[in-house]
């Protein structure tokens, strides 16, 4: 076998074996990865809806509200179709939860917000993912900042400088979270009302 033929054969065989191996590993792990992501989402929903023992995904129907928002990422467009409804032990709805998204300093900030059934008040808020500066913007995860949103309803302004205090040194991150809460609340409450 001459040299160039040998080069082609060796490289091809190595690439084929590698491809086969990767296909097998992907096949083995993809199910577990998808399950993890679902579990993570579910535990976030339970965290923001105290009292809920069972959650259900509300089909939002056509996501026309987010579809024309050029700022929304692919994940939001998927998540925008998702409003989760939580039920208590008696089977009565305790409220709903939604995923909100805002443009932070280091990238997109995704949050999960729980809203009560009775008064439409925000019950709790968790940060799902962010890439803000550690020590500055990352403090959006601190309870002191997040708790400012608890108890707010659609009729509140929910704006930095009015009823929300920005974190010092992290105005952009604070605005992004506030924006995500307000926009998400408007959209999700409309969807939730329509579903009832």
């Amino acid at each position: 076998m001459n040299e160039s033929a040998r080069m082609i054969v060796v490289l091809t065989v190595i690439a084929m074996v590698s491809g086969g191996l990767l296909a097998a590993v992907y096949d083995w792990t993809s199910g577990v990865i998808a399950e993890n992501q679902l579990k993570e989402m579910e535990s976030a929903v339970f965290a923001v809806l105290p009292g809920a023992v069972r959650i259900e995904l509300l089909d939002r129907g056509p996501a026309e509200l987010v579809e024309d928002d050029p700022k929304a990422s692919k994940e939001t467009k998927q998540a925008a179709n998702q409003v989760f409804v939580g039920y208590n032990e008696q089977g009565a709805p305790v409220g709903y939860a939604f995923v909100g998204e805002g443009n932070g300093y280091g990238g997109i900030i995704r949050i999960m917000v729980g809203v009560s059934e009775a008064e439409g008040k925000i019950l709790n808020l968790t940060v799902l993912s962010h890439s803000e500066t550690p020590g500055l913007g990352s403090r959006i995860e601190d309870a002191g900042f997040r708790n400012q949103f608890v108890g707010k309803t659609l009729s509140d302004p929910i704006a930095v400088g009015r009823d929300i205090n920005a974190l010092s040194g992290a105005t952009i991150s604070s605005r992004a979270v506030t924006e995500a809460v307000r926009r998400g609340l408007e959209q999700a409450s409309a969807v939730y009302e329509r579903s009832r």
Binding site: E3, R6, M7, V10, L11, I14, A15, S18, L21, L22, V25, Y26, T29, S30, V32, I33, N36, E40, S129, T133, P134, G135, L136
Partner: protein, 201 residues
């Protein structure tokens, strides 16, 4: 057998990739915001490095000289992707933090360096031990830097608070400048220790 064991300890101190050869510094600076990140990145690199060293050594007589670099890259990229997928499936928390650095193991020059300079010329056992030693040398270096930065930047080690509640921390050590300062000081210390050792012997 003595000689083989020596290959393993080589990477731990005398030719430590971070402190002595100073290669693969990008992940060293980027991921070491906490001790846990350091261990995670180090062990992931150790796994890929050992596996790729073994495979490159096994194939060293089969791979034609002219296409050796693409072959090494395929081998390394395959193992990196396997680590990426397995970590995503079984250690999702760690994967969320290290996510973007795992695929970058492919272009970490430690891997290409060891494949080209060592594994392509040496028998399998030597190469495996060399990979393991280099990987663990990389791991302890990353863990040490991570622990120092976590202690100064957040007041904790391995996510366990060690300073008093509300004690002042240097947030800068969690940020890139802290990585450069920590690495610089440690390099100076390493040089000092080695100079002393040389004088003593």
């Amino acid at each position: 057998m003595r000689g083989v064991i020596k290959e393993f300890f080589n990477g731990l101190w005398k030719e430590n990739p971070t402190f002595r050869i100073q290669i693969g510094l990008c992940p060293v600076l980027a991921v070491t915001t906490s001790a846990m990140n350091g261990i995670g990145m180090g062990l992931a690199t150790t796994f890929v490095l050992t596996c790729s060293n073994i495979l490159v050594s096994l194939l060293r007589k089969v791979i034609p000289d002219k296409v050796r670099i693409p072959c090494y890259i395929i081998v390394i990229a395959t193992f990196s992707t396997i680590v990426d997928l397995v970590m995503n499936a079984f250690t999702p928390d760690l994967h969320r933090v290290l996510g973007i650095f795992i695929p970058l193991i492919v272009v970490n020059c430690i891997l290409m360096g060891r494949a080209e300079a060592y594994a392509s010329k040496m028998p399998v056992l030597h190469s495996a031990l060399d990979g393991l030693g280099m990987g663990l040398g990389f791991t302890w270096a990353l863990t040490l830097i991570g622990a120092i930065r976590e202690l100064l930047g957040k007041g904790s080690i391995f996510d366990r608070a060690v300073t008093a509640e509300g004690a002042a921390t240097f947030g800068m050590f969690s940020l890139p400048p802290g990585a450069f300062i920590t690495l610089g000081v440690l390099l100076a210390l390493m040089n000092m220790i080695n100079a002393r050792l040389r004088k003593a012997s």
